[in-house]
């Protein structure tokens, strides 16, 4: 799929779309390969495991293919062949990375996902998008470098660098952990996510939302399952983005905070590491790719038709874009984990595993985060775009290809929610888990409905403040403002100091030169005749001194 994508520019628009779908179908045949190592390559004395498949990579591979297919359908109207190449090669690289059996092969595909996806951010076709893409690629390639460093250290000590379980107590493990952490948008390493994804085109953001971060979750699940620090990191990830999402005005950026928050649930589950929790992480990643893609699709359709995704400028679009609105609501209900929708059957696994492990405090943090998800993704996204106040905008409904992609996604959200037992069959471990316990359903409904009622009260009594055009500071502030804010004056200071030192040296040099010239010409101490002899003597002394110094130290 990755290699095939480079032929895309040679096809006219219509055949290009068919060719892209064909590439995905051909790639999907790899799903039938079964568990085991199927392709290795020996080069430079290293065994590169190119294609390895098992119970963990299988569900990710399925959902990556689904996401690639839906993205292509969603972007059929897009005539920019560069984005077509970027989407297909990006999806291909991500699928290939899932099947990497060693760290060097993973590194190649890890970097390939970065290099291909950056063109989707360039696809935003604005100066902001361009600058954001540059920051994005620096961070992503940096993550790859950490991964490579970890792999080299591991190879140096073990003579192999298999993509398996690592400990963060070792240097190589810590480097690999950081590499994965950057792509998984750990706290303070998450700035790139909110900075770059909303700058891409409407199609580009849908593709971006599916692969990079979920590839990192897969990598963490494979290499750091049961690493306890992940529980704390994940809990923080679920917690903090909620507040940023509440104050953010750009609805696509709200979704990136929400994405960050959802990744937190998966990271917590990986940190627990039990069979139930790993199933929860994988199920959540699977369901999340579809419902988050659906939400990004609906906001992308709004952006495509209206030209903005700012809550302050939207509202009342339900009358004009009813199908998009309904699909957005289904995505919002799914992400909020209402029973009978995909989010519920996936998140229940994680919450139950937390309960079984007795992690009460983390459990309540995630329960609080669940109410937050309802607030910013479940209500804020559809409400401010399609309801709230009348914006006066009268756009047409989204193009038919966008609607088809959204309807398929919405259907998948519902089917997964209604038939969890079929969904659970593709998870890594066989488990006997029943999410539809009446008590559990009632608790979840009470939690969500009352959270929604609180929002209604805040809105009805006009306590909820209006959305404002603004920039919300995030961890990218450190490298966009703070570091330049410190380094720029520092560099200017050094340049100033350098200038002053040079001036002083010149001043003393000129004074010295004047002094010597006075000696030579006014006082006639070093006149022409004696001057040469003295010079020769000085040179001889210098050579002797130099020789003595060398003898002394060598």
């Amino acid at each position: 799929m990755f290699l095939g994508s480079f032929l895309i520019p040679f096809f006219p628009h219509f055949f290009r779309q068919i060719y892209m779908i064909l590439l995905i179908i051909i790639s999907a045949f790899s799903l039938t390969a079964g568990s085991g190592t199927h392709l290795t390559l020996n080069s430079m004395g290293i065994d590169f495991i190119i294609f390895h498949s098992d119970n963990l990579s299988f569900p990710f591979a399925i959902v990556f293919h689904i996401a690639a297919f839906l993205t292509v359908i969603y972007g059929i109207h897009n005539r920019d062949w560069r984005e077509n190449v970027a989407i297909t090669s990006y999806a291909g690289a991500a699928i290939a990375a899932l099947h990497a059996g060693d760290l060097f092969t993973l590194f190649v595909w890890w970097e390939a996902t970065a290099l291909t996806s950056v063109f989707l951010i360039f696809g935003g076709k604005s100066l902001r998008a361009y600058k954001s893409a540059i920051r994005y690629i620096i961070i992503q390639v940096g993550s790859g470098m950490l991964l490579l460093s970890g792999g080299i250290i591991l190879f140096h000590s073990n003579n192999e660098a298999l993509f398996q379980n690592f400990s963060i107590q070792t240097t190589s493990g810590l480097l690999i952990f950081l590499a994965f952490g950057i792509k998984a948008a750990f706290p303070f390493l998450n700035g790139w996510l909110q900075d770059s994804y909303p700058e891409a085109s409407e199609v580009g953001t849908v593709a971006l939302s599916a692969f990079t971060t979920k590839l990192a979750i897969y990598a963490l699940a494979r290499s750091f399952a049961g690493t306890e620090i992940l529980i704390i990191i994940g809990a923080l990830m679920t917690f903090f983005p909620i507040f940023f999402a509440v104050i953010e005005n750009d609805l696509r950026r709200v979704l990136t905070y929400s994405l960050n928050n959802q990744l937190g649930f998966m990271v917590v589950a990986v940190g627990i590491g039990s069979e139930l929790a790993i199933n929860g992480a994988v199920a959540h990643a699977f369901a999340h790719i579809i419902y988050k893609g659906l939400l990004f699709m609906s906001m992308g359709a709004v952006l495509y038709r209206v030209g903005t995704c700012k809550a302050s400028e939207l509202g009342g679009l339900f009358k004009h874009m009813p199908i998009t609105a309904i699909c957005s609501i289904i995505g919002a209900i799914s992400i909020s984990a209402f029973p009978l929708f995909s989010g519920f059957v996936a998140k229940s696994l994680i919450m139950s595993s937390l309960g079984y492990e007795g992690l009460t405090f983390i459990y309540f943090m995630l329960l609080f985060a669940s109410a937050g998800v309802l607030h910013h993704s479940g209500i804020k996204i559809p409400f401010f775009a399609f309801f709230a106040h009348e914006s006066g905008l009268k756009p047409n409904e989204a193009p038919i290809n966008m609607i088809i992609a959204m309807l398929i996604s919405a259907l998948l959200c519902i089917l997964i929610g209604i038939f969890p037992s079929i969904f659970y069959q593709i998870l890594p471990y066989k488990i006997d888990y029943q999410p539809y316990d009446f008590s559990h359903v009632l608790s979840q409904l009470q939690l969500l409905t009352f959270a929604a009622f609180a929002f209604i009260c805040l809105w009805f009594f006009k306590i909820y403040p209006p959305e404002l055009n603004s920039t919300v500071l995030n961890s990218d502030w450190f490298y966009r403002r703070m570091i330049p804010g410190v380094i720029k004056p520092l560099i200017l200071g050094i340049i100033d100091l350098n200038k002053k030192v040079v001036e002083i040296i010149f001043k003393y040099f000129i004074n010295f030169e004047k002094f010597v010239s006075d000696l030579m010409f006014k006082n006639r101490i070093f006149d022409r005749e004696t001057g040469y002899d003295t010079l020769i003597l000085v040179q001889v002394f210098c050579v002797i001194l130099f020789y003595l110094l060398i003898v002394q130290f060598i």
Partner: protein, 74 residues
């Protein structure tokens, strides 16, 4: 009745569902993953209060984290 009319149909439906969910609490032995969850109306209370806290903290954070739209472009 006047209040419900003013409150709007959708909001009234949500309020009605909330009341039904509270009443259902008495028909089933509801149990959660932790003992605290088993308290009467706990999920409802937790959901409502969480949403208010998120809103309040969010509003408070506006003054800390909110800047002009062209903050990074200056």
């Amino acid at each position: 009745m006047n209040f419900l009319k003013k409150f709007g149909i959708t909001n009234s439906i949500v309020l009605f569902i909330c009341i039904i969910l509270l009443l259902l609490e008495f028909t089933v032995d509801r149990h959660g993953e932790t003992e605290l969850e088993d308290l009467l109306f706990f999920p409802a209370f937790f959901g409502f209060v969480s949403c208010i806290i998120i809103f309040k903290v969010g509003v408070a954070l506006r003054s800390v984290f909110m800047r002009d739209e062209d903050y990074y472009d200056k």
